[in-house]
Each structure stands twice: as C-alpha cells, then as structure tokens.
C-alpha cells in the first residue's frame, strides 16, 4: 500500500508545528509516532497536503515537581512510559495501561500524546475504501452506516488504552495553540462525538500531561480485554484508582473509567459513589462492578454485541478493583 503524496516539514519545536498546523487549514496533519496517521493515510481516510513530523522534537524526561505532581511529555513513547521507574512508582496504573497498548514495536514508536489524540475507529471505516463504489459512511462524510445498516448515526468508538488510566489519575493536559498554552482536565479533551472525538481546535497540539500528587494510600489497576493483544484494539479497557483511608481497607474516593465503549472514555459515577466510604470487601467490589455495567450502555463495535460488551465490562471492573486491592489484602 502506497502513501499518497504530500509535502513534508520536520518541525523544530511544538510552537513551530502549531503555527504550521494553524496555517494549514485542516489539510495539514501532525505525525508524532506515526502509528495512527500512516495507516489512516494508506487507507485513504485522510489525505493531507502537508505532514508535519515531530521526530525532530526531543521528548523531555518525566519530571516530579515540588508538590509531588509529575509532568509527562506528550512525545514520550509508550514503551518509555511503561518502563519509567518514576511512572511505575507514582502511577503504576498508567505504566500498566501503556504496556498494554499494541505490540512492543508499536509501543516503541507510538507516543502518549498520540494515544490520547487517537481518532475513533470502526470495523467498516478502518480499511481501504478505494475498491468500493458505495456511498461513503457518516465518518467519511456521507449519510449512512454500513456497520449497523439501519443506523442513523456514526457508531465509531474511541479505543485509546491510556485514556482511562489518565482519567482515573485526575490528569490534566497541556495544549499548545496559536493563542498560547491552555490547561484542561483530560476529560475535557473528549466530546463523545464519533465524527469529531476531540475538542482540539485548529493549530492546537497536546504538549504534556500533568498527574497530580499521589496520596499516601492508593490502590490502582488496569485491565484490558482483547481477542488478541498485540494485533487487536481492546474490546473493553478499564482503569480504577481508589484513594484509601488510614486502615487501607476503606475507600475514601474512587474513580473508575472505561475505554472502547463509546466515542469517549467513560466514567462510572454511580459505581464510584457506591464505593465511597465502604470497606472494599469482595461483595462491595462485585456490587460496584454490577453498578458500573448497569450505568454504561456500550456501543457495539468490532463484532462484539452490546450484551457481550456489558458483561465484559462488568468482569473487567470487578477484576481491576480486586487486583488493585490485592497488595492490601490481610493475610
């Protein structure tokens, strides 16, 4: 498969890339790792006139601030994030999520920022379309859906694995744009619209991620279900972060987020509320998992039915909560 022709610019800094991107009138694409953009270009899903490469911008090492928060460069590769001792100590849920993405080859190329800014995906949409003479689907600018033939709207899902982990950590993203830098909670990056999943405007680039300081007692875990990790995107990925009381058995505050179930990573506020100030017994964990599965209505994707995904989601939530609590189990 050949890439379509384009002109190439290697940006020296994110500021320069942002200026070029803003001037490019949406016909310019940004390539950090390239593992998302290049297949999309080969499939003809995007045809940029210009590609701005970020390979010339070095990724800064993760930094711990005086207040205990850590700042990650968006250009850090997933394998570097998975292997970073600072991330493993400060946010093991993120290290686990980064290690669960794709294959080791993909993780050596793909970046944290690229993972968070992934396009939504669909079994029909993510393939070459040059052999087809049918009308384009919603995502390709048309007005029909081939994945769910009577569908009235696009059902593409957002499948990045690190997003649920970052959301549970309460991460904030830094966005460089033509009007300077803005900082928003990561959840504000997502619109839950499969046609345009991100809230980034023209010329804006995700430059860094800030993870707040770690409280004294915290349990966390990540789990992903996929038919064949290494090749397949996740059917469901779930992260959970539990702030614990002094006794390390009672939950003070919980965050549970799931990916690949909709056009944005979704939290389970009712399940989180149900865990608040509860002892994290097996029964409490199972009840929270049931609640999480009840409150999210998964979008069927990649051949998985809604009922299958709902059950899969329930199992993954129960699994992350019990895995998170394992280090605090009383012997």
């Amino acid at each position: 498969m050949l890439l379509p022709k384009f002109s190439y610019v290697k940006a020296a800094s994110l500021g320069e890339a942002s200026r070029l991107l803003a001037a490019g009138d949406r016909k310019t694409c940004l390539a950090a790792g390239g593992t998302e953009l290049l297949p999309r270009m080969k499939y003809g899903l995007v045809r940029p006139e210009k590609v701005i490469s970020l390979k010339g911008v070095a990724a800064a090492a993760p930094e711990r601030a005086a207040d205990g928060s850590i700042r990650l460069d968006a250009l850090m590769t997933l394998s570097a994030a998975a292997a970073s001792s600072l991330i493993q100590a400060h946010a093991p849920v993120l290290a686990a999520a980064a290690a669960a993405v794709g294959s080791s080859e993909i993780r050596n190329m793909a970046t944290l920022g690229g993972n968070l800014c992934q396009e939504s995906r669909c079994l029909y949409y993510n393939q070459p379309h040059d052999f087809q003479f049918t009308m384009p689907c919603f995502k390709r600018g048309g007005d029909c859906c081939y994945f769910i033939p009577e569908g009235k709207k696009c059902r593409a899902v957002y499948m990045a694995d690190t997003a649920p982990a970052f959301i549970c950590l309460g991460a904030e993203v830094h966005i460089v744009g033509p009007r300077g830098v803005r900082r928003i909670p990561l959840e504000g990056l997502y619109r839950n619209d499969p046609l345009q999943p991100l809230t980034l405007s023209a010329g804006e680039i995700l430059s860094g991620i800030l993870i707040p300081a770690r409280p004294a007692h915290r349990a966390e875990a990540f789990a992903k279900f996929s038919w064949r990790p290494g090749f397949e995107f996740s059917a469901v990925s779930v992260a959970a972060v539990l702030n614990l009381a002094e006794d390390r058995q009672t939950c003070r505050h919980a965050r549970i987020a799931a990916g690949s179930l909709a056009a944005a990573p979704l939290r389970s506020p009712k399940a989180e509320a149900a865990l608040k100030d509860k002892r994290l017994s097996t029964e409490a964990i199972a009840a929270a998992a049931d609640q999480a599965a009840r409150e999210i209505r998964p979008v069927p994707h990649h051949g998985y039915t809604r009922a299958y995904l709902r059950e899969c989601h329930r199992v993954q939530v129960r699994r992350v909560l019990s895995t998170a609590m394992r280090p605090f189990a009383k012997t």
């Binding site: 498969m1 610019v9 290494g230």
Partner: protein
C-alpha cells in the same frame, strides 16, 4: 524549517554502513530498504503495522519499517536482518531458529529474529511470558509459534533442564 517536496537525497545508516537514496517524502523506510537499497530482508506484509513482518531495529529497539517515513530515519542506526550475521557466520539467534526448526515459509522470520535479539539484549533470561509479550506483534501464518518460542529459549539458554 524547509519544506520537502519531490525527490531528494536522504542519508541512512543501515547495518553500520552509510547509504544515500533518492526518495520522496511519502516513501516509507520499508519501501526505501526494499526498492531502493535492495535490502529485501524486511518483508512487506500487512503494511499497516499489524503483522510485524517489516520489523527492523532502530537504535536497538524493534520498530515497524512500514510505519516510518524514510526521511524521519536519518539520525538513527538501523539494523536489518542482513546486518545481524557476521559474514557467513549466523548470529546465535538465527542458529537457534534453525536448530529448533522455527522457520517454515520464512516470511515472519526476519521480524521474529530481530525482535528476539532485541529482547535478549534487554533481558538475559526472559521468562516464557516475556517472550510471548515481545513477539505478540508478530504474525506467523504457518502457526509455528511453539517452535519459535523454543528457539528463543534456546538462544537465551533457558531451554536446558526441559528435555
């Protein structure tokens, strides 16, 4: 920064040697290796980063040559399967693949061998889990995975005591 349109000379460092190739910006590293430099060891499989057949080592780490623009690879040290053996002598990983019969059609083999050598420089005694994780992105349609895992264990010297 200069905009790059049309054909230009790019410099690549492959297997310790310097190569110049006239390439357009939309040419991938895989296309330049195979079509312009005659290094056909890296295979074009799926071409979208799913099968691992095009794996090469970039600064010692396995990456997918089908998802890299050749122009972006000018600063890196690239190792292809052609650069692994010394002259007529095969590398120990290659010997292990031969000895275990881990090569059938051979299409996935260059990627598997390169990913294995990267794994073995990282960890001396990888567990079976480590091996499976390192090779998770490599598709073998002859489905000889067990023999490949055995070859990796033989290369790592962790196969002893199993027989």
């Amino acid at each position: 920064m200069d905009e790059y349109i049309g054909k230009k000379l790019i410099q690549l460092k492959i297997n310790g040697e310097r190569f110049s190739a006239a390439a357009e910006p939309h040419e991938t590293l895989l296309e330049v290796l195979r079509n312009r430099l005659g290094l056909t060891g890296a295979k074009a499989g799926c071409d979208v980063g799913e099968c691992g057949a095009c794996t090469v080592l970039m600064d010692g780490k396995p990456v997918l040559a089908c998802l890299l623009l050749a122009v972006d690879c000018q600063q890196a040290e690239i190792t292809t399967i052609e650069g692994l053996s010394q002259g007529r002598e095969l590398a120990s990983v290659q010997e292990a693949f031969l000895a275990e019969g881990a090569v059938q059609c051979g299409f996935c083999t260059p990627g598997m061998v390169l990913a294995t050598s990267a794994l073995l420089t990282q960890s001396i005694r990888p567990s079976e889990e480590d091996i499976k994780r390192a090779l998770a992105g490599h598709l073998c349609r002859c489905t000889g995975y067990n023999k490949i895992f055995a070859a990796v264990q033989r290369a790592a010297g962790t196969d002893r005591g199993k027989a």
